[in-house]
Amino acid sequence: MKSRHKRGLGIGLGLLLLCGAAYFVLNAFQSNLVFFFTPTQVVAGEAPKEGHFRVGGLVKAGSIQRDGMAVAFVVTDTQREVPVRYVGLLPDLFKEGKGVVAQGRLDGGLQFVASEVLAKHDENYMPPEAQHALDEAAKARMGAAVQR
């Protein structure tokens, strides 16, 4: 009888521990999800005004401006554009006209302040998110053409 109580207590404690762990994991998980938005979505105001997210597309040709370690450029999906500011070293494959994904937050208006800039390690390779942004924009253009 006593050992059965003990076992019950053990199982109960174990379950409690697991539930606690699950709660804690899911909580951390939820607060660290970073969503991706295309420039069109950002301009349309669908991106969060506060909090981190990712934006991606192509680095607009001729848009890179440097000032010391700070750099400003424009991410475009060929439809809409989002200006991005970043301070630090850029990845090797960051180039005008190439795919890029930036992570950061909006600075009040439509200025994006990046804490991280990702460009992929292969000259032929487009970050899937950047490709997605271009595809969406192309779809929107097609849709508009059909409507007209």
Partner: protein
């Protein structure tokens, strides 16, 4: 001609694998065909010979620049230096899978060779299951990912190997990782044999242990090499990015770590049987999942060089079959093992149970963070990513109790709680706490304005205390044990060395997380930057011609000491390379290492303006080498444990599972209990318990 020979050899290997999967298993299950069991060993050897032939044929194609073979044309180039030409075989999808089956064949032959003392039926079943796994992979290679596919007309020049992969790290990282991944198939095959035969006792666990520990050691080494390679090759100074591909290798590692500990309980106490089998299935399934994630192209990651979504479906189906079949068998057999007695709270088994639970929860957390974005993307619910902060926030609180349980778990005896044993290691714990506090207070490098640094705080105290406690109490246990007569056995030493490795790793991570200094800066010729009390002066930037690349190379002189009294201690030469054939840029960081700190400089891009300037990232990374040093200790410990003679004792003496109290096994029970008992009661009492 050689590519065709290789292709033929692979086809034959697939048929041999089919025979290896069917005949010995059939023989082991039917008394009338018992003779077929003996076929397992020769078939495994034959399969290895054929796969080695195929591998050699592909190597030959790389060596002679046979660009009519598509795979060679895609991953090699006449300018590519010979060592990389040969390691390029596992740079892409097709070759990696060929490496996978080669490793599987090697492990099969290893099992065939070192299993003379195992019952014939068990060997037949283990090799049969491994044959079945091999059938799956060979079918995949032959139907969807043939490395010998030709293309006409043959290009006169190959596309070249991704510059990132032109590095000694790549030569050894994938083979080691794959040895680990595939080695877990041995543990899986042992588990399946237990499920098929219903025989799962201490002897079974003892046979499975060295194989599992060996696979775990390779996996550890593979992960550590990958981390080390990323650290110096990617130029970002990080050693772990929580990248999905890294997670894909970490998940099987976590479960394999739980498995080697759970196997010990099955061996010594005849408990945790169903759990052990489930862990073995889980570890191998996760290594298949890892293969799927890396090789299917579903990931957004730095490792996305070899991608092809169509193939993912096959691996996914294969994974479903493996998991489905093994779990069905498990559901059928497990109830008969489930009613073992409960572990007593505070006994060694209870600590090992905690170890299992925490490691599996950690794996589940990593799995959630890795797969969730993929699932959401697949369901078209949007694109998202799970940032490293999630993993940090989840992983640290799960690892702290794990590390905390490590010391008491090794000093308490089996079956009973003995708090006196835990009390005896409290002194090392207190010493570790003192040392860690001192470390957090005075461990930081001199501060300078403009640098990003993370000052030591309570995390430093915690990490330092945990690591220090494991080191000090390990030393204390060794001293106590050496006073006893007899040798503690290689497995015991292996445990001590591997645990020391964990401690060194924890101290390294704590040190670098607490005290690293990072600085992004623009410098012209003659300018300097001071990071962590060390001055770096840019002396020159010139062009440099490598075998197959052009590099922009900076020269930085490094000065130590107070201004006015400084001395030059060396020159660092970070490079920015541009590879000729692919025009791809690569950052080649310059690192000055020693045991206590790394000085790490990477060259950014030239900045427009007059006079010319360049951007640099300069790191001071204290204790970073300890991360890999710790992994080396863990691997050494695993190697020692795998070589323990006790695992290779004759089947007859290992037959009686619960008779550990006598003879050879009794010594091992005493081994575990002795240091604990010494602390208080006395040797005899601990051994009896």
């Amino acid at each position: 001609m050689w590519p065709e020979v290789g292709h033929m050899a692979l086809i034959m290997a697939a048929w041999v694998a089919v025979l290896q999967a069917v005949l010995p298993l059939w023989g082991s299950l039917s008394a009338r065909r018992a003779g077929w069991q003996a076929l397992a060993r020769p078939l495994a050897v034959l399969q290895l010979v054929l796969i080695v032939l195929a591998f050699g044929a592909l190597w030959h194609a790389f060596f002679v620049h046979d660009f009519s073979v598509k795979y060679v044309a895609h991953h090699s180039n006449t300018l590519l230096p010979t060592p990389y030409r040969l390691s390029a075989i596992w740079a892409g999808h097709e070759g990696s899978l060929l490496l996978w089956v080669l490793m599987l064949a090697l492990w099969s032959v290893a099992v065939a060779t070192f299993s003379r003392r195992l019952p014939q039926a068990l060997v037949a079943q283990v090799l049969g299951v491994m044959g079945a796994v091999s059938v799956g992979f060979l079918t995949f290679i032959l139907t969807l990912s043939n490395p010998f596919a030709r293309q006409f007309p043959a290009p006169s020049e190959g596309r070249d190997l991704t510059p990132l992969l032109q590095d000694p790290g790549l030569v050894i990282h994938p083979p080691m990782l794959y040895m680990g991944y595939v080695g877990l198939s041995v543990a899986f095959a042992f588990a399946m044999a237990a499920l098929l035969s219903g025989r799962l006792d201490a002897a079974w666990a003892r046979w499975a242990r060295p194989w599992t520990v060996a696979a775990w050691g390779f996996l550890t080494l593979g992960i550590a090499l990958g981390s080390w390679w990323a650290y110096y090759e990617l130029g970002w100074g990080g050693w772990w990015f929580w990248d999905p591909v890294e997670n894909a290798s970490l998940m099987p590692w976590l479960v394999a770590t739980a498995l080697i500990h759970s196997l010990m309980v099955t061996d010594k106490r005849d408990q945790f049987k169903a759990w052990t089998v489930l862990l073995a299935i889980g570890a191998f399934s996760l290594s298949l999942l890892g293969t799927f994630l890396v090789r299917s192209g579903v990931l957004t990651s730095v490792h996305a060089f070899a991608t092809d979504p169509g193939r993912g479906v096959f691996i996914l189906l294969f994974l479903v079959v493996v998991v489905g079949v093994s779990l069905t068998l498990f559901a059928w057999r497990a109830p008969q093992w489930a009613h073992a007695s409960q572990p007593v709270a505070g006994s060694r088994e209870s600590f090992l149970l905690l170890n299992s639970v925490l490691l599996v929860v950690a794996m589940a957390a990593v799995l959630l963070g890795t797969l969730y974005p993929l699932i959401i993307d697949a369901l078209n619910l949007g694109k998202l990513s799970v940032g490293p902060p999630y993993f940090d926030r989840v992983f640290v609180p799960l690892m702290v109790p794990l590390l905390l349980a490590m010391v008491p778990g090794t000093v308490v005896p089996w079956h009973v709680a003995r708090w006196a044993a835990v009390r005896s290691v409290l002194v090392p714990g207190a010493l570790a706490l003192l040392a860690a506090s001192a470390w957090a207070t005075w461990g930081a490098a001199p501060q300078d304005a403009g640098a990003v640094t993370t000052a030591g705080g309570w995390l430093t105290v915690m990490g330092g205390t945990l690591g220090g406690w494991i080191v000090l109490s390990g030393a204390w246990q060794i001293v106590q044990r050496l006073r006893l007569p007899g040798s503690p056995g290689l497995a015991w030493w292996g445990m001590q060395v591997a645990h020391l490795g964990v401690a060194v790793l924890v101290l390294g991570i704590t040190g670098v997380k607490s005290f690293q200094v990072e600085r992004d800066v623009r410098l012209g010729l003659g300018d300097s930057v001071t990071v962590a009390g060390v001055r770096y002066q840019l002396i020159g930037v010139d062009n440099h011609l490598g075998p197959n690349y052009l590099a922009l190379r900076a020269q930085m002189k490094v000065f130590e000491g107070e201004p006015g009294n400084e001395r030059e201690v060396g020159t660092l030469r970070p490079e920015k390379r541009r590879y000729v054939s692919s025009a791809m840029p690569m950052t080649e960081a310059a690192i000055d290492r020693n045991l206590w700190r790394d000085r790490y400089v990477s060259l950014g891009e030239p900045l427009a303006g007059e006079p010319p300037q360049w951007s640099f990232r300069v790191y001071h990374k204290p204790y970073v080498s300890w991360i890999w040093l710790g992994a080396v200790f863990m691997v050494l410990g695993g190697g020692l444990a795998a070589l323990d003679r006790r695992y290779r004792q004759a089947a007859s003496s290992a037959r009686a599972p619960s008779a550990h109290a006598d003879k050879g096994a009794g010594v091992s029970a005493l081994r575990g209990a002795a240091p604990a008992a010494l602390g208080s009661a006395g040797v005899a009492k601990g051994a009896v318990a």
